[in-house]
């Protein structure tokens, strides 16, 4: 993950698109973020050749840490074959000439939108999240000056007001994604819109987790093996989402499932949102009740 000038990428670009001074600035923000787990470090976010909301923060973080020997995987909602994932993967294949993969265990850097891969991450891997709104207190306290003070003084009662409202209105904590977490006993952090199913995976994770918010100009991080606790009440403890069905294709019972509508007569199927995980299980001979023998997305890697 060191800076490399040129490999076999197009000569019109510096390695990984951003110029070296910009990468240096982003790396400094990343180092600071790692030093203070969960703290939102401001950085001078650049215009990227994609619209805000498409992962400009994550792309800048990835560009800053990418080296020529790295292998990159990009997922969007768990899938390797969606527009956002395909185009970001193609972007770095073109501007940095790095190897790309869809296999979680082969990747050294995984950029993600809205999911954490099912396979347990290793110490040599880095997970880069695309973050739309980094401030967990935003919707309760719109003043940025006030939320910064609250972070500085660790005044997090307001976060529980949000959960209280959930229980008062729905009888249980109805927040299912973007579920706030307490990092290393200090900062309350927005985990980006991952499902709360993935929250337990952040705790004591072997991989470094980096969060980039391009429009909001913030970077934050969870170093490896850091305690990450989902907020809850004593009488309403945190519960990860559970599914009633196994995956229709691979039969997995412990993965996060997407609901896919299959016809206009109410037909639907539940399949793993992590396509690589699902394909791996099918290749290993696990099959769900709708498995037809074909593989869905072999061309995703290209």
């Amino acid at each position: 993950m060191s800076a490399h000038r040129q490999t076999n990428s197009e000569p019109a670009y510096n390695f990984a698109y951003l110029d070296e001074q910009t990468k240096r600035m982003i790396r400094r923000a990343i180092l600071k973020a790692i030093a203070i787990p969960g703290y939102q470090v401001p950085f001078a976010s650049r215009e990227m050749p994609m619209p805000y909301g498409w992962g400009t923060g994550g792309v800048q973080v990835t560009a800053a840490i990418l080296g020529s020997e790295d292998t990159l995987k990009v997922i969007d909602q768990g899938a390797d074959d969606t527009t956002n994932a395909v185009s970001i993967r193609a972007f770095f294949a073109k501007t940095a000439g790095v190897a790309v993969t869809t296999a979680t265990e082969d990747a050294t850097i995984i950029q993600t939108r809205h999911r954490i891969p099912e396979a347990a991450l290793q110490g040599h891997q880095v997970l880069v999240y695309q973050v739309p709104i980094p401030e967990p207190l935003r919707f309760l306290e719109p003043r940025e000056t006030e939320t910064r003070t609250m972070h500085a003084l660790a005044e997090y009662g307001l976060m529980h007001v949000k959960l209280y409202e959930d229980i008062a209105r729905h009888g249980h904590i109805a927040t299912t994604y973007d579920y706030p977490v307490h990092v290393a006993g200090r900062y309350v952090m927005d985990p980006s819109p991952i499902p709360k199913f993935d929250n337990p995976k952040m705790n004591d994770c072997a991989a470094l987790q980096l969060f980039g918010a391009g429009r909001e100009k913030r970077i934050y991080a969870i170093p490896p093996h850091t305690q990450v606790v989902s907020l809850d009440f004593e009488d309403h403890p945190f519960e990860a989402t559970k599914f009633e069905h196994p995956c229709a294709l691979c039969g997995a019972t412990m993965s996060y499932l997407d609901e896919v509508v299959t016809d206009d007569k109410g037909g639907r199927m539940f399949v793993c949102s992590d396509t690589d995980f699902c394909e791996g299980r099918r290749a290993a001979g696990h099959h769900g009740h709708l498995y037809g023998g074909e593989t869905l997305s072999k061309e995703a890697a290209e």
Binding site: L140, T149, L153, E155, G157, L158, H160, V161, Y164, E165, I167, A168, R169, D232, F233, E234, D235, H236
Partner: protein
């Protein structure tokens, strides 16, 4: 007599060349209600903000006897201590309830916020306390999950009071708590405040331009004009036998019902 709860010593605040208030000194004992009266622009609200640590004085000090019995200068507290004090041992009732409440959070959440802020993490307990406080301020507990936007002006003001009193503060600042309410609602609110103050032994600093409110609630009165205190004393004495010409004018301009 124990040490006073709040001591204002020679407070002054200037807005450029203009005077917000100056030369204000008084002490407030536990359980005492002090009214600050005067016309608009006389420096009442500036003084209230100086006393409650929301503004830093240009001259003088405000000291407060903390729960551990030690009297400390507010300027010497760290921001964390000051904010903790303001949400546990103090209350602040705004004239406009929208400023003091979270309008997009239910009544129960509004009352529970201070409890969660000091570390209460049991939903059932928080809710039980919120229901209890709604009853005490005469709001039907079945409306606990309604947002303040669905409440009338008088109910919002009562909810604001409940939200402030839930941590059993010893001192409450009130800025025109009955302003903008019609007279019957005002009377009911005053009655409620008087009952709560007596029951809980609260000390109150009350800013009002309404002398009737001052007479009903307060033990002592400060009369302000142009940023200075021109007369002070027991409420009945000041209102029945005003000494300063301005106070005489103020008292004589009250409309008789």
């Amino acid at each position: 007599m124990s040490a006073p709860l709040l001591i204002a010593d020679n407070l002054a605040k200037f807005y450029g060349a203009r005077t917000g208030c100056r030369d204000v000194s008084f002490t407030l004992d536990a359980g005492e209600v002090l009214a600050i009266v005067g016309e608009s622009g006389s420096g009442k609200t500036t003084l209230l903000n100086l006393l409650s640590g929301r503004l830093a004085p240009d001259e003088g000090t405000t000291s407060y006897q903390m729960r551990d019995g030690e009297t400390r200068d507010l300027a010497s507290l760290s921001e964390a201590e000051r904010r903790y004090l303001a949400r546990t041992d103090w209350g602040f009732v705004h004239q406009d309830a929208a400023q003091g409440l979270r309008m997009n959070v239910s009544a129960g959440g509004n009352i529970g916020e201070r409890l969660m802020g000091i570390g209460d993490r049991h939903y059932g307990n928080i809710r039980a306390v919120a229901e209890d406080w709604l009853k005490r301020v005469e709001i039907d507990p079945s409306r606990i999950d309604d947002r303040p936007t669905a409440y009338s002006g008088g109910m919002r003001q009562r909810l604001q009071i409940a939200r402030n009193l839930v941590t059993a503060p010893r001192l409450v600042f009130m800025d025109e708590p009955t302003g903008g309410l019609d007279v019957s609602v005002q009377a009911r609110l005053l009655d409620l405040i008087r009952g709560l103050v007596a029951d809980l032994g609260l000390a109150v600093v009350l800013v009002t331009h309404d002398l009737a409110v001052a007479r009903l609630l307060s033990h002592r009165v400060l009369v302000m004009k142009n940023g200075e205190v021109i007369e002070s004393g027991l409420t009945d004495r000041v209102l029945d036998d005003p000494q300063a010409p301005y106070t005489q004018l103020l008292v004589s301009s009250v409309l008789a019902a």
